[in-house]
Every structure is written in C-alpha cells, then in structure tokens.
Amino acid sequence: MSQVEEETAVEAEVQAVVKKFMFVNRKAPYGTIYALEGLEVVLISAAFDQDVSLAFLDDGVYQLLKGQQTKALEVKNFSPTYRALEGYDVEKLYVERESLEARGIREDQLLVPVQVVSAKEMAELMEQQDVIIGF
C-alpha cells in the first residue's frame, strides 16, 4: 500500500463513525402516527451503516402483532415493513417481557423473530447505546 492509499484508508476509517442507535417504540401501531413515522426513521438510519436496534415496550409491543387488519380504519397496514427490516440489516429487535405479559401476548404471536428481554435487561441494553430515539 502506498502512502497515499494508506492515508486515504485511515481517513475513510475516521469518517466511518458507527454509533449504536436504538429506536424505542412505546405506542400502539394505530391511533397515532408515532409508530409509522418512527419506522421511517429506522429505514433511513439503515442507509447510514450504523449499529441499529429496535426496542418495543408498553403498547409498542402491539406493533409486532400478527394479523393486523386496518381496512375499517382506512389506514395503511404497515406491519409487513417489520418483516422487511432484515433486508436492511436491522436484525436486533428487543421486546420487553413484562409488556408482553401485561397484554397477554405470546412470542409466537409476533410477526418477526425477536429477543424477549426483561425490563432490567432492556435497561442494560439502553445503557450501552450512543443514541436513543423514542417514538
């Protein structure tokens, strides 16, 4: 490697900052726009080659429920987008166990593979992040 090439490589490394981004979803998928517009940020962030994860807690766990039917609401069912996240290399989806249990939801009722974690574990995951954006 020539010196110029070496310098260019070092520069590229410096520019390629990878931060840990966590998107925290706390609200039901419909009724407010937070879940939908939150998901749009997730998709954009994937293009920035960051270390992205998603957390689902409180009513946010409803976002991942299978069999969503929104026709009567005249709102687009955007839940298939969660299945597409894998294609964007967004594969870390954490769901809080307590939130699932409080709502009587089982893991096999969810649209996508997730890691179910306790509230305590979720707190530890949050502690590791550089950027947390909640919707």
């Binding site: 954009i44 962030s45 954006i133």
Partner: protein, 119 residues
C-alpha cells in the same frame, strides 16, 4: 458539547415545543453548540410562518427564527412529515429549511448528545 435536538410535537398543543426551545437557549448560554434542531412528526408545525397566536401569548415560531438569526442554528424540517401536514417551502418561516430524515440520523452521528422532545 455538541448537542442535537429532535422535536416531535407541535407548537401550543404540547409543552415539548416550548421545553426544547428553553433547552436550546440554556445550552447556548452555557457555551454549548446546538449542532442542529430537527423537526419531525407534528413538530414540523413549529416552522409555519402562517402561525399567529394571540398577542399576549408567546410566538413559538418567531422565537425559533430569532434563535437561528442570532446563533446561526440549523433548523431542519423533515420533508416527508412536512408534506403530510401541508408544511412546504411556501409557508416556511425564516431560518428554517426543509430536508430529509438523513439529516436527523446525521445529527445523531455528529453530535455528542441527541436530545429528544416529544410525548
């Protein structure tokens, strides 16, 4: 410290828009840099120049414009969230600009702290 702000709630409807502004002022007064303020969700309505509150109320939109004028703060409105709510270049208050969500992610990367103001 370099600080980025994300504002997700509209003016007057929610305290978040006021708190974010007070936070920005306080941070600047302490010598911090406000790297960017990004407006998303109903937060885009903080940028409407058509806003006309009663005279005895604070003018949330003009307050941001003045902040940008004084400190050169980058006030960015999400294009997609803006279009959804009728917020376009034609009704954008001074000091704001419209751009994409990438600007929000970039702020997360470039600032030392991203502070979110929402519900």
């Amino acid at each position: 410290m370099k600080i980025g702000l994300l504002i997700n709630e509209g003016p007057y409807n929610h305290q978040a828009a006021d708190t974010a502004y007070q936070f920005a002022r306080a941070a600047l007064a302490k010598g911090h840099e406000v790297q960017r303020v990004f407006f998303y969700n109903d937060g885009v309505n903080n940028a409407s120049k058509l806003t006309e509150p009663p005279q005895d109320d604070r003018h949330i939109v003009n307050r941001w414009s003045k902040l940008a004028e004084e400190h050169g703060t980058d006030l960015v409105v999400c294009v997609a969230a803006g279009l959804r709510r009728g917020l376009v270049d034609d009704n954008l208050a001074p000091g704001f600009r419209i751009s994409g969500l990438g600007q929000l992610v970039e702020t997360g990367i470039e600032s030392d702290r991203l502070v979110v103001f929402g519900d």
